[in-house]
Symmetry: C2
Subunit: 387 residues, 2 copies
């Protein structure tokens, strides 16, 4: 007789340690029966063949599932984490949208059933007005500068930054937001007790203090390549939109971007030099059929996130030069005056294609504003710098 | 009795020297009556009020219109140029599309009636498969490098480059194409005999020799700011598409781009660092409702120009690393093996979430390809660099 966990939450935590998150077959099973019953069936081998094969090794070396679930719960509280499940008050309901994603190449796209969370904040509240900033680990200084700036300005505008925990863009985004007093959310592909990579240790401590570190995997889980792809769907689904800042040709950030587009979130990217290998991936986003939006400033991100009715980005500050302030007729007259020559009003009017009377009036005005000099009733370009 | 030109071509050349090209009122008039009759009416003051005012100064100081037209014809042949008009065999008929453009802010958008041409080539033939490359005069090294590269590669692919004659992007595009033996078309906003700016003198000589220098203005016409805007519509209309490479916030290149979009031509831009003021204008193009396409390489330009049925740009060369060549199951097993540890097959299968039998088979394969070592029937990550 197998010793089963007596609490559905414990059973779900155990299942999260055995089957990768987002598994469609497990998800379907959990729609039918209680998590405890699923654990029972796994240990009895009474599940679809694929689930049985995936879990067989774990089942064969785990003789007491209840004890193992209890161990996971202890490890959870030992690192100061808690577990959230759908229906909990601070569960972010927008994760349900992942039901919309159908990806034959990636079987782990169903919504999370279980999230480990470190930090005091309310996840649902934090993510209500949130935007993901993702990009390459091997980011350039340019990309990190952009990520830091965008995150800081979006934080100032009341948006929560959601990202992974990697070096490069993820790190720059978190630090940019934290520097402005923001609460960021770091979504990991490993256990929340030992965030990867270790080099971001002090950043993770800061995030746990001010914001939240979350994961679908129980404590003790190490990173694996495929887990980052599974994790990316959560970043995309939690937020109103994703900004991809720097991505190489084959990049996880593009994968997050694709999820965002499929989920009907706003997919944005910042451009870079076409000569930079770190911008190849973002520029590809722009040419794919996902309607990725080019953004250069936080105001443009907010414009795109809020859509119709939201604030429009102010145009960039104009750089008007003195010549640009002239009317078209003034400009024609000034340009028709060859530098160094002295010209009669009628000739000048003819050259400029302006009626003589209007030319005369306009030249008087240009005289007053210092553009031309009058010499014996003829006109000369004055010597100031008009360029 | 006024001495009128006796040839409609001479009359049109004269009209081109009096009224800025693209003038809607003159265009309507020329649809009704012969150019000689238009000249007659101008000298009699028998034209709409606006046309009369624009031309009054010129009329009052030109007592012999026929002589003035003959002077223009002499100046034309003196610089080795010729004049093309609609109906001539090498007239580019696509210029008629400018009838589609309605711009209340810019009255000079009608199709050209007259083009001065320097060079031996056939304008219609050259432009049949042509693309405009335009951008800032104050371009960065980055922008010039891009323009040069794109122009060279498009030339190799059999496309004619059309541009202005300015420093910066225009110059780099011409030189890139000429270096590959291409025939480029330079569209000027002044007379073809004295192309502006003078600093591009030797480039203009090369273009006149290998390609064409064209203008709507007769010899002797100097550049004026508004003429560049009028000229831009010709660059857009001649070509199948326009690539804008670097443009500041207020830029003529964006004006050309807008014409391209309104004419149903393909509007493209190359991105740059968002921190570069020379890329502000191109990034704005991407956020305006003109469906500007982001391009980074000649292949992408050709893909966009040729549309459905044309060649697709090859994906950028992949940078596959050894790890990327592993199957998902192989990758999971490799990643589940902690570096330096020796692990049993069953434990490793459990950690990787892979059935034991499949893990065993896969590990044998990984042993043969040098990823793992077998020690007493247990597995260890081999020491090679697998990153």
């Amino acid at each position: 007789m197998t010793n089963l966990p007596d609490d559905p939450r414990l059973a779900l935590m155990l299942l999260s340690s055995m089957i990768e998150p987002g598994d469609a077959e497990l998800d379907d099973l959990l729609d039918e029966v209680d998590p405890i019953e699923v654990v029972k069936r796994l240990w009895e081998g009474d599940v679809p063949d694929r689930l049985r094969r995936i879990t067989s090794a774990m089942v064969s070396c785990t003789h007491d599932p209840a004890a193992r679930a209890a161990d996971i719960a202890s490890a959870t509280s030992a690192c100061g984490a808690r577990v959230l499940m759908p229906g909990d008050p601070d569960w972010p309901d927008q994760l349900r949208d992942l039901m919309l994603v159908c990806d034959a190449n990636e079987p782990h796209v169903r919504p999370p059933r279980c999230l480990w969370v470190r930090g005091e904040q309310d996840l649902a509240r934090l993510c209500r007005r949130s935007v993901a900033i993702v990009g390459s680990r091997a980011a350039t200084e340019y990309g990190q500068h952009l990520a830091d700036d965008l995150a800081a300005d979006l934080t100032d505008a009341g948006w929560t930054i959601v990202s992974g925990g990697a070096f490069g863009i993820d790190r720059a985004a978190h630090l940019g937001a934290l520097a402005r007093g923001g609460s960021t959310v770091s979504v990991l592909a490993c256990g929340v007790e030992l965030p990867y990579p270790k080099g971001n240790h002090s950043m993770f401590n800061l995030i746990a203090e001010k914001g939240l570190i979350i994961s679908e995997w129980p404590p003790g889980t190490t990173v694996m390549k495929h887990r980052f792809l599974t994790r990316n769907r959560v970043i995309a689904a939690l937020t109103a939109g994703t900004v991809v800042i720097e991505a190489a040709h084959r990049s996880g950030a593009r994968n997050t971007g694709r999820y965002a587009a499929e989920l009907g979130r706003v997919l944005m990217f910042t451009p870079g030099p076409v000569t930079s290998s770190m911008s190849v991936g973002v520029h590809q986003l722009a040419r794919e059929p996902w309607e990725a939006r080019l953004v250069t400033r936080a105001e443009e991100v907010i414009e795109d996130l809020t859509g119709i009715g939201g604030p429009l980005a102010a145009p960039p500050p104009p750089q008007r030069r003195p010549f640009d302030r002239l009317t078209e007729i003034e400009a024609r007259l000034v340009e028709s005056l060859p530098r160094g020559y002295v010209v009669e009003t009628t000739r000048l009017a003819a050259a400029a294609g302006v009626p003589t009377e209007i030319a005369a009036e306009t030249l008087d005005r240009l005289l007053r504003t210092g553009w031309v000099d009058r010499i014996d009733n003829r006109w000369r370009l004055s010597r100031g710098d008009h360029s």
